[in-house]
Amino acid sequence: MRRLVVFILSIFIFLWGCSPKEYKKVPVALESNKSVATRGTEKLQDFRYLYSGEVTTLNYLKTNSSNEIGIASNLVDSLVEYDKFGLIKPALAIDWEVSEDNMVWTFILRQGVNWYTVDGYAFAEVLAQDFVDSAKYILDLNNDSSTANIVYGVIKNAEKYYRGDITDFSQVGVKAIDNYKLEYTLEKPVPYFLSMITHACFLPINGEFLKEVGDKFGTDNYNFLYNGAYILDTFEPQSRRVLIANDNYWDKEHVYIKKIVGRYNKEALTLAPELFIRGEVDSAKVSSIVLDEWINNPEREKQIRPNRANYFSYFYSFNFNPNFAEKFEPDNWELAVNNLAFRKAIFHGFNRKAAVLTEEPYSPNNRLLNTITPKNFLDFEGTDYTQLGSLADISHTDSFNKELALEYKEKAIDELKGIACFPVKVLMPYNTGSVEWASRAQVIEQQLENILGIDFIDIIIDARPPTGFLSKTRRSGDYSILECNWGPDFADPETYTTPFGPDGTYNYPHLALGYEEDNGKSIYENMLNIAKREVYNMGKRYKLFAEAEAFLINQAFVIPYSVGSGGYSASRLNPFESQYSPYGISSSKFKGQKIMEKPMNTEQFNESQKQWEIERRKALKAGNR
């Protein structure tokens, strides 16, 4: 007995003594308990924040998660980057040109940029071969790259190499002409190629280092090479990450924040606002739940401002491929959904503002989106894409219109009399992983049933687990109406059409009855194909896409709903200083941002936004010339 106790005690002591060594490195203390919200000027070089989404890997050639790419974007530079108005400017490439046929892009690289290890030792120079090596890595099946499809979607012979149809990599359209000259050959003319190379999959990697570390590349901050604005000094998953400005960075005069300390907390949403008040973090999202308290408290109200919207587009899809349980009457739904008046009744009866209030109680209108493509995404000669052709009308009208809804309801009842049974059962699943979605589903159910009457529709909201949600629900067509979203991949309106093409797995609009044209394809599909083929005249291309999008909305295949993100933040960052781009890695860069002494308030935000829009228009005009 006594021996046992001694044994147990010695295990205690042994285990207490051993703790992983790397965690003792570089003490980074969070200052605690500063009650005043302003910080001394000497501290304005540190930025501290709380995050709840942990990165699983730093391997930017493998991952496609915005979170992980966001970290990598601060560590490794791309060929080009964006300025704060969204204009492309040189980064690792100082110059570039494109051949007459839009097929061959040549980049001249900046000289004297080096790769550094985490300890700050120069490893090698960044050369054209590094871009070739990165493409080679991504196109290797064994490396599991999640972004390979972006590369082989444009680069010549890349898909063939990926699938193993050719084995000679020199046939793939990436070539190092010399140390500082890089050439990409494309599969087909891609007018937006420049916007694509800001994706993580076009970042360089030193092939020799890759060979050295092998599988371990990107698993921690040591098995990684840096050529960007920051070096990841500490990487302790589920605890903290510390980025320190790279002293040898080629553009270091534009790196104002010298140190970035991220602390992990699973409950960041609840905790961060509280820590912001205590002066322990410099930025916190103020969720809609606690927003009331902040807005009504004059002291706190001064410290928050709206967030900039991102470019995720949320919309409600009508399903043309119903495939759900008999008890929800899929056949009846199929009859109903193929009736334009029925769809339009719901389209106009859906009070999107009521739904958006669940996440944006104070400024719902900032979130509402009348089109699929968000505003400020693209621009042709000073005109926003959403203002082109028929889209202009749509983007100015709120789809919610009670009179129209009731009119269409009568019409639908008339047209479907004796064909479909009323009330039509509408299966509307939601993902229980999102509390706001659950609230929204309840709001929408009640609102639509109130306005259209339970004699017309019977909305059934259905809670589904997050596990396998998309496969079980959207991809298999197990819904009538579903909230869906899509984010852009490159700077072209085509990127927002992916969900609705015949290969899409959203709501299968090509299966809708009554839209078939002589070539056997649907009207919408044909409109898309014509637009896609127009690669030289950008004005025409954009207009064609705008018309297709307008058609999709006018025929009520989808109900545009909102942009992603939004809400309020208390933050010492000026959101209008960051690099501006709806896709790629630029927007997550800390480079160019400064820490303000006092957080921006709503008034300042609105003013800055106005100012930014005016300046942007000017810059775009100058840039386009």
Binding site: Q442, R464, P465, P466
Partner: protein, 321 residues
């Protein structure tokens, strides 16, 4: 007596012994005549005024949750109320005479939601708690007492106890969709294990005491030894455990909601009400959304705890004489 005993075993052989037959009449002789176990227990229990109070409280709570929807002026727990001035949801409305407990972030009546949630959670708690106790006690008693089963049950216990219940829950919600019955089913699958182990340990401790040995030698059937010799001895600890099983089941529902495997919020339960409330804890004006469900949950737990403890005291036969 004029011969020496050479060896004690010499004269002993099987013929000298016979198997004792269990005789119900003989047993009666050794019992008190006028003693009824349960009557004495109830009598001892009723002496404890505090416990009685909480017992009534639990009963009233249960009755109220059942009849609440049928009372006049009750609102639906899932209806979203609209502010007449703005035409939008009546969000975070403070408690007043119209909404006794206020409204939540999308304008649903918290009063109705809390009672509906209590109903759901009590249903889950009672079903799971009962199941846990019944299966737990039966398996635990057999496991602890019947030698032939020990190996088998230890094996089964080790297997079931070590398969993470999260895997089972995730798979079940994936296969069966999130609902009350899925949750109950999932909690029942492995919920009885701790109870079984607890009862088994208790029985192992006392099974070889002399009086049991004596009983066994007298040929008392296993079933009777378990029900008459062992379980009454354990009734007090088992009662306490049982009383905690119901709040325990409610507690694990709260936990499951926390890790995202609980009920969807359109089925109100104390678990998701508290989880919603937890987020607004730091917001003074909204704290009522946490306090009301927390109070109800605490009342239920405290009641069961106090009643269970008092009953455990009362159920101990040594306290009867």
């Amino acid at each position: 007596m004029n011969y020496k005993i050479e060896k004690l075993s010499i004269g002993i052989n099987k013929e000298l012994f016979e198997f004792a037959q269990y005789n119900a009449n003989n047993e009666k002789l050794s019992n008190y005549l006028n003693y009824s176990y349960w009557r004495s227990t109830i009598y001892a229990f009723s002496k404890n005024k505090i416990a009685l109070f909480f017992l009534y409280l639990v009963i009233i709570l249960m009755i109220f949750t059942i009849i609440q929807p049928y009372l006049p002026y009750q609102k639906s727990p899932i209806q979203i109320f609209i502010d007449e001035n703005t035409g939008m949801q009546l969000r975070n409305h403070k408690p007043n005479s119209e909404f006794y407990f206020g409204t939540n972030s999308i304008g649903q009546d918290l009063w109705a939601r809390i009672w509906s949630g209590t109903r759901t959670s009590l249903l889950i708690g009672i079903l799971v708690g009962l199941w846990e106790s019944i299966i737990g006690i039966i398996v635990g008693a057999l496991w602890g007492y019947v030698k032939g089963l020990e190996k088998l049950v230890t094996g089964i216990y080790n297997i079931l106890d070590n398969i993470p219940s999260t895997i089972i829950l995730v798979l079940l919600t994936y296969i069966m969709e999130p609902s009350i019955s899925t949750l109950i089913f999932a909690m029942c699958i492995t919920g009885w294990l701790p109870m079984a182990r607890f009862v088994r340990n208790q029985i192992v401790i006392i099974r070889d005491r002399e009086y049991n040995l004596a009983s066994r030698t007298l040929g008392t059937p296993t079933q009777r030894i378990i029900t008459r010799n062992l379980l009454p001895y354990l009734v007090s600890v088992i009662m306490l455990r049982l009383a905690l099983a119901i709040p325990g089941a409610i507690g694990s529902e709260v936990f499951l909601t926390y890790i995202g495997l609980g009920l969807p919020i359109n089925i109100p339960s104390l678990g998701n009400l508290i989880n919603e409330g937890r987020i607004v804890m730091m917001v003074e004006s909204l704290r009522y959304q946490l306090i009301f469900p927390a109070i109800i949950l605490s009342l239920i737990t405290i009641s069961f705890y106090v009643v269970g403890n008092a009953f455990a005291d009362a159920a101990d036969p040594r306290n009867h004489v």
